[in-house]
Amino acid sequence: MMLKVESLQVFYGAIHALQGISFHLEKGEIVALIGANGAGKSTVLNTVSGILRPREGAVAFEDQEIHEVPPQEIVRRGVIQVPEGRKIFSRMTVTENLEMGAYTHTDRAEIARDMESVFERFSRLRERRNQLGGTLSGGEQQMLAIGRGLMAHPTLLLLDEPSMGLSPILVEQIFDIIQDINEQGTSILLVEQNAQMALAIADRAYVLETGKIVMQGTGDDLLKDPSVIEAYLGGH
C-alpha cells in the first residue's frame, strides 16, 4: 500500500482539526478528499508532508511510518505537496521556481532534463521562463506550482485545491493534466472543494466534514449519492 493514514488526530492548540481520520491510497490511484472550507483537508496534506505533527495516529508511506520524519526527508522519499492558493515563489523567475522544486536533487543534467519535460507539458511556462512568478496569470501560476512539484520526482503527489479560483476552462485543463500525470505513473491524493470535477477523475474518494470522514466510495458511486449531491454538488 502506498499511503496508509490511521486514526489521525491533529490539533492547532485547542482546535481539534482532525478527529481520527483513516484512509488509504493504492499505488497508481487517484484518491480524492472532498469537503467544505475548513473541513480539515489542508491539515491532512500538511500532516502527510510532515509539516504538522499528529497527536495520535499514524501515517505510513510505502509501509514505513513517516509521521515523525522531517518534511525534507519525506520530500526525498517522493511525497511532494503542491500547496493550496498557487503558492509559488512570486519574486523568483519561473526557472528559479522550478529549480527550487528540484532542491533535493543535485544532478545538474537531470535537473535540466526534468525542466525540459515540464516545459514540454506546460509550453506556456517555457515562453515565460524568465518572468517573475508573481507576474503570471492564475492558471499559469497553478501550472508552475504543479511543475515545481514534478521537478522533485514525486511517487505520490499531494494536490491541495488545484482548481481554486480558476475559470471553468482552466479547471478542465488542470484536471486533464492531473489525469495525464497519473497515467504516467504518479499516484495522486487530490484535495478539492470542487467535488464534481474531483469525483469525476478519482478512483476512490473520501468525504471530510469538520475533521471526520463521513463517507467513502468510488468516485462514480459518490457522484450518484443523494447526500453528496445534496451537500457538495449543488443539489442537482
Partner: protein
C-alpha cells in the same frame, strides 16, 4: 484650476513652514548656514557663520518649497500662472511661518528673556541671525519677502526649464549623445575587453593600496569605521536580507566578538596575551556559537521572535558588561585596555595604514564569501524561506537548519567586525556595544537596498562616512537618519540599489499585465 494651484502651494507652504520652524527650534538653521559656508570653503565650526550663508540657506529652502509646489508636467495643465501662483503661495506661507517664529523670538530676546531654559538650541545668536541682524519687525518682513521671492523665482525657473523647447531639446540631445556613446560598439568593446577589465581591477587595487598611505590618520579612521560597518551590513544581510529573519540586537554578536578577542589578548583582567590571529579566530567562533545557541530554541517558531530575543540578548550583554558583578571577569564599566594589534611572524603592525589594509582585506574577503553564498544552493534556500516558509519546507528545504546556519554565519561576521573594532581602538567597553550600533546597521542595510551587496557599501558610506564628512550635522544624526528612512520609504522603498531580481524589466515588457493570452 487656478485655485487648485494656490491650494497646492498653501499645503506645501505649511509643510515647509513647519519644517523651518522645527529647524529653527532645534538650532539647525545655524548648522545649515555652516554647511553652506563649507560648500564655499569657509569653515565656521566654532563661530556663528556669516549672514550671507544663512541667507543662501534660506533661499535654498524657499526655492525647494517653490519647486515642490509648482505643477508637475504631464499631470496638470502647465501654465505660467499656475507655476507662479503655486510657487509664490508656497514660498509666502512658509515665509509667514518663518516670519512669525522669528518675530516672536526676536521680541522675547529684546525683552531679555532667554528661551534657552526650555529650548537649549535657540541661542541669542541664532535668533539674531534668523532676523538678519535687524529688529524683529524688519527682520521678519525681510524673511517673509525672501521666502516668497525665492519660492516665486524657483517655480518660475523650473517652469522655464521644463517648457522651454530649446533648453529641453538640448538637454535631451546631450543625454542622448552620452547614452549613444556609452552604447556604441567601440565603448562597449573597451568595457568588455579582457585587458581593460584587468586594467580597471588593477587600478582599483592600486587605489586601495595607495589611498590609505596618502590620506592620513583621520580618514583612515573614518573609512576604517565605514569598512567595519560594511562588514556588519554584509553580515546582517545574510539573516535579515536573504533569509528574511529580522534581527534587532545584532550588536550582541559584535560584542561577543569584541570582548572575546579583548579578553584573550589584553593584559587585564586575565593576562592571557594570546596571539592576534588565534584570538581573531576564537572571537569569530564565539560569536558564531552564540548565534547558534540563540537560534536553537527559537528558529523553529514562526514570527518575529528572533527580533525580540536578540534585542533582549543585546541588552542583557550590555548590562552585564556594565555591572560590577562582572568586573573581575570583563573589566566592568571601565572597559578593556591595551588590546592586541595584528602581528605577522611575531612583528606587530598597528599603524593606522596597516590597520586600514587589514580592514580592506577583511571587507574583500567577506564580500567575496557573501557573493558566493548568495548564488549557492544555500542562498537560494534562504531566499525561498524568506518568500514563503511553508512552501519552502514543502519543496524539501530544512527551514530550521537553513535559518540556524544563516544566523550563525551572520553572528560570525559580526564577531569579525567586533574583533577588528576592538583591535583597532585597542580598547573596548560596554558603551561600544549600545543598541545604536544595531540600529545603524539595520538603517544602512535598508537605505542601501536590502539583500544587495553594492547597496550595503553605499549605505555604509552614506550613514557612517557622510556624517563624518559633514561634521556639523553630528547632533542631528538621529534626526537625519529618520528623515532619510522616511524619504527612502517614500521614494525608493527597496533602497537605493535594490536587489536585482533577474529579468524583471524584460518580463514586464514582454507581458506587462501578466494576463493570459
Amino acid at each position: 484650476m487656478r485655485s487648485s494651484a494656490v491650494d497646492k502651494g498653501l499645503r506645501t507652504g505649511v509643510v515647509f513652514g513647519i519644517v523651518i520652524v522645527t529647524m529653527f527650534l532645534i538650532g539647525f538653521t545655524v548648522t545649515g548656514a555652516g554647511l553652506v559656508g563649507k560648500i564655499f570653503g569657509v569653515q565656521s565650526s566654532y563661530s556663528t557663520p556669516p549672514l550671507v550663508f544663512f541667507s543662501i540657506f534660506m533661499i535654498l529652502v524657499g526655492a525647494w518649497a517653490g519647486v515642490t509646489a509648482s505643477p508637475r508636467p504631464l499631470l496638470e495643465a502647465d501654465t505660467w500662472n499656475r507655476a507662479l501662483l503655486a510657487g509664490g503661495s508656497s514660498g509666502a506661507v512658509s515665509g509667514l511661518f518663518s516670519a512669525i517664529i522669528g518675530f516672536l523670538f526676536g521680541e522675547l530676546n529684546s525683552n531679555r528673556i532667554d528661551p534657552r531654559t526650555y529650548l537649549p538650541s535657540v541661542s541669542p545668536e541664532s535668533i539674531k541671525m534668523f532676523l538678519f541682524d535687524q529688529t524683529p519687525f524688519i527682520g521678519s518682513l525681510l524673511m517673509f519677502a525672501l521666502m516668497t521671492g525665492s519660492g516665486l523665482a524657483a517655480a518660475a525657473l523650473s517652469f522655464y526649464l521644463r517648457n522651454n523647447g530649446a533648453v529641453r531639446s538640448s538637454l535631451r540631445k546631450a543625454s542622448e549623445s552620452v547614452w549613444d556613446s556609452i552604447r556604441s560598439e567601440r565603448v562597449s568593446n573597451i568595457i568588455q575587453n579582457k585587458y581593460t577589465r584587468y586594467a580597471s581591477l588593477l587600478a582599483f587595487a592600486a587605489i586601495l593600496i595607495i589611498l590609505p598611505r596618502t590620506w592620513g590618520g583621520y580618514w583612515n579612521y573614518v573609512f576604517g569605521t565605514v569598512g567595519i560597518y560594511i562588514i556588519l551590513g554584509l553580515g546582517l544581510n545574510i539573516i535579515t536580507g536573504w533569509a528574511g529573519q529580522l534581527v534587532i540586537g545584532y550588536v550582541a554578536f559584535f560584542a561577543v566578538g569584541a570582548y572575546t578577542f579583548a579578553l584573550l589578548t589584553a593584559p587585564e583582567p586575565h593576562h592571557l596575551m594570546m596571539n592576534f590571529w588565534v584570538a581573531l579566530g576564537l572571537g569569530v567562533l564565539a560569536a558564531a556559537i552564540s548565534g547558534l545557541l540563540i537560534g536553537l530554541p527559537i528558529l523553529n517558531l514562526r514570527g518575529d521572535y528572533l527580533a525580540i530575543v536578540t534585542l533582549g540578548f543585546a541588552e542583557i550583554i550590555r548590562i552585564l558588561l556594565k555591572s560590577d558583578l562582572m568586573t573581575p571577569y570583563t573589566a566592568g564599566p571601565r572597559g578593556i585596555r591595551d588590546i592586541a594589534g595584528p602581528t605577522i611572524l611575531g612583528k606587530s603592525f598597528i599603524s593606522d595604514v596597516d590597520f586600514m589594509y587589514l580592514i580592506i582585506i577583511a571587507v574583500l574577503v567577506v564580500t567575496f564569501l557573501a557573493n558566493r553564498l548568495q548564488n549557492s544552493r544555500t542562498g537560494k534556500a534562504w531566499y525561498a524561506i524568506n518568500l514563503d516558509e511553508t512552501v519552502a519546507r514543502a519543496t524539501g528545504i530544512n527551514a530550521f537548519a537553513s535559518k540556524l546556519l544563516a544566523l550563525s554565519l551572520s553572528a560570525a561576521v559580526a564577531g569579525l567586525a567586533g574583533v577588528l573594532f576592538a583591535s583597532r581602538n585597542q580598547f573596548t567597553g560596554p558603551d561600544d556595544h549600545a543598541l545604536m550600533v544595531s540600529i545603524n546597521v539595520i538603517c544602512l542595510v535598508i537605505v542601501g537596498g536590502i539583500g544587495n551587496i553594492p547597496g550595503i557599501f553605499l549605505g555604509a558610506f552614506a550613514l557612517k562616512g557622510l556624517p563624518e564628512i559633514l561634521r556639523e550635522t553630528e547632533n542631528y544624526r538621529l534626526l537625519i537618519f529618520g528623515v532619510l528612512l522616511i524619504v527612502m520609504m517614500r521614494l525608493r522603498p527597496e533602497g537605493f540599489l535594490p536587489a536585482k531580481r533577474p529579468e524583471l524589466e524584460k518580463a514586464s515588457v514582454q507581458n506587462p499585465l501578466g494576463k493570459e493570452a
